[in-house]
């Protein structure tokens, strides 16, 4: 009940549902969903596993306005199957991206909240991720920025991390995590000495928003509010890199330099220290404003070709 009287933009991005994020992110009342839940386009596969289905398969796609400009939007619902990519879920994003080169919106926004591929539909999910990445390349090549927003419970893991790395620009919050193998996957395969998934501070430090922003894996750090993500999205649309040889050569140089400078580091705090952060231990506790002030004093963080 309290949701009705609360300003949707003041809400926590982390706590909000995918629909609430879209509502607060876009200009009020501007969102028009495509293939909404009333169409009941559910997974044809989950019943085989005796698993419940969702009317939208955990993916909401549509069009709306951001700061008066037309955008296409896709949002993953992390509360359904961990936001994982199944056949319908992935195909909705693929379809939205394929519409973008002709429609030429001001941007395509992807609100990530995913653990990666839905294992019950693994081959369909994996292939959809490849299709999404190809489609993003086409959208970017057509001059339309693809902006990823990452701050949900499920983070952006597995193939979601690869899709994030394909976007023109990324905004991430403290709670947003970007990674390929998740902590539990590394622990299961390599042991707790390699990665203790219960050590939450280690998880945030290694995969969390501040580390990604500090090392160039994301372009903006946002407070955990819908309003902050809205402001970040508006800003990032205006400074999206082209998808061309110049950008990818610059990214190649950026990623090679990272290996040279930090390849022997064991922990994120060591990397932050080498970046010039005086008190790495204090970084996890910094507010977004203090963190932005810290960033302003570090040259490398403007190195953001992607």
């Amino acid at each position: 009940m309290s949701e009705r009287i609360t300003d949707p933009r003041a809400a926590s991005w982390y706590e909000a549902s995918a629909r609430a994020r879209i509502d607060g992110l876009l200009d009020p009342g501007s969102f028009a969903e495509i293939l909404g839940p009333e169409q009941r386009r559910m997974s044809p596969h989950l019943p085989l596993f005796d698993l419940p289905r969702a009317f939208d398969d955990g993916m909401i796609v549509g069009a709306g306005r951001l700061d008066g400009r037309p955008v296409l939007v896709a949002a993953q619902e992390g509360r359904f199957m961990g936001g994982a990519f199944g056949e319908v879920h992935g195909a909705k994003l693929v379809g939205l991206l394929r519409a973008a080169p002709a429609l030429k919106p001001a941007a395509v926004l992807i609100l990530f909240d995913t653990g990666g591929v839905r294992l019950q539909e693994a081959n369909a999910g994996e292939t959809a991720i490849a299709e999404v990445m190809r489609a993003i390349a086409e959208v970017r090549a057509a001059g339309v920025p693809v902006v990823g927003l990452i701050g949900g419970r499920a983070g952006a893991y597995g193939g979601g991390g690869l899709i994030a790395g394909t976007c023109s620009r990324l905004a991430v919050s403290e709670g947003g995590r970007i990674s390929v193998s998740g902590p539990e996957v590394i622990e299961t395969n390599k042991g707790a000495e390699e990665f203790d998934s219960r050590d939450r501070a280690l998880v945030w430090r290694t995969m969390g928003g501040k580390h990604r922003r500090l090392t160039g894996g994301a372009d903006a750090f946002a407070d955990d509010t819908v309003a902050a993500f809205r402001a970040a999205a508006i800003d990032l649309i205006g400074r999206a890199p082209a998808f061309d040889l110049v950008t990818l050569e610059a990214e190649q140089a950026r990623l090679e330099q990272r290996l040279d400078r930090f390849g022997d580091c064991r922990d994120a705090a060591e990397i932050w220290g080498r970046l010039g952060v005086n008190d790495p231990a204090a970084v996890p506790g910094l507010t977004a404003a203090d963190f932005d002030a810290l960033l302003a004093g570090l040259a490398e963080t403007t190195h953001d070709a992607r």
């Binding site: 319908v88 379809g95 390929v180």
Partner: protein, 238 residues
């Protein structure tokens, strides 16, 4: 087929393709021009250094121009699973490799994948699945995750999963299932020279991404194409 056999079949006049630390790179004479080859051999896990090196090779091909096609050969593990790789931003390295292949393809360098061994998860997406057409050789075993791991995550008994895998291509590992979902376009014949077969794939490359159409046709992904088409048709700017 082993990588050496594949290269011998592709390049009967010899080639300059070398394998270092499980990473494949080089080129050879091909139909009056050159064919660039990159990839992963020996069930090697793809980590930050490997992805970065392969991406650099792709960019070299693009910089040289001339429309040289790129063959991505894969017999890999999954992405390298380590704290260090994730600390350094493995997602960016793998995505960068995929983007370089997508850029090359858009820039007139046809890209073809060839899976001849294992491959899985992020390593698969960053390499073979980022090409315009993906071929497999019999005996290849692409997967997202092996069934024992699927059993652990889904908490379903392994014997039940194995039984379901027999007639449910959408989740079970293996080349046949990836063919049916449309991820793998064609299976090559190892008894015939590979050069003409790869050349035929390059000549017949689809202009658009047809994997969902193949998946619908072959029954491995029954609804993806229809859903994507419906969303694309329904999209209008407000």
């Amino acid at each position: 087929m082993t990588l050496a056999e594949i290269l011998a079949s592709l390049f009967p006049e010899g080639h300059d393709v070398a394998v270092t630390d499980g990473l494949v790179a080089g080129d050879g004479p091909f139909w009056g021009g050159r064919l660039a080859v990159i990839g992963v051999d020996g069930n090697t896990a793809l980590g930050v250094e490997g992805a970065c090196r392969l991406a650099g090779c792709v960019l070299d091909v693009v910089r040289r121009g001339g429309g040289t096609p790129i063959l991505v050969v894969v017999d890999s593990d999954s992405q390298r699973m380590s704290r260090r790789d994730e600390l350094l931003g493995l997602n960016e390295y793998l995505a960068h490799l995929a983007k370089c292949l997508l850029l090359a393809d858009r820039g007139g360098h046809p890209t073809v994948g060839l899976v001849y061994g294992h491959t899985a998860a992020g390593a698969f997406i960053a390499t073979a699945l980022a090409t315009r057409a993906l071929a497999g050789l019999p005996g290849a075993n692409p997967s997202v995750m092996d069934l024992p791991s699927v059993a652990r995550v889904t908490k379903l008994p392994l014997d039940r999963l194995e039984a379901m895998a027999k007639d449910t291509p959408v989740f079970a590992p293996g080349l046949d299932n990836m063919v049916r979902t449309g991820a793998v376009h064609a299976v090559l014949d190892p008894a015939q020279p590979l050069g003409p077969q790869v050349a035929a794939l390059i000549d017949g490359l689809p202009a658009a991404d047809t994997r969902d159409a193949l998946g619908a046709e072959r029954g491995g992904r029954p609804v993806a194409q229809a859903i994507a088409a419906e969303v694309a048709r329904g999209a209008r700017l407000g």
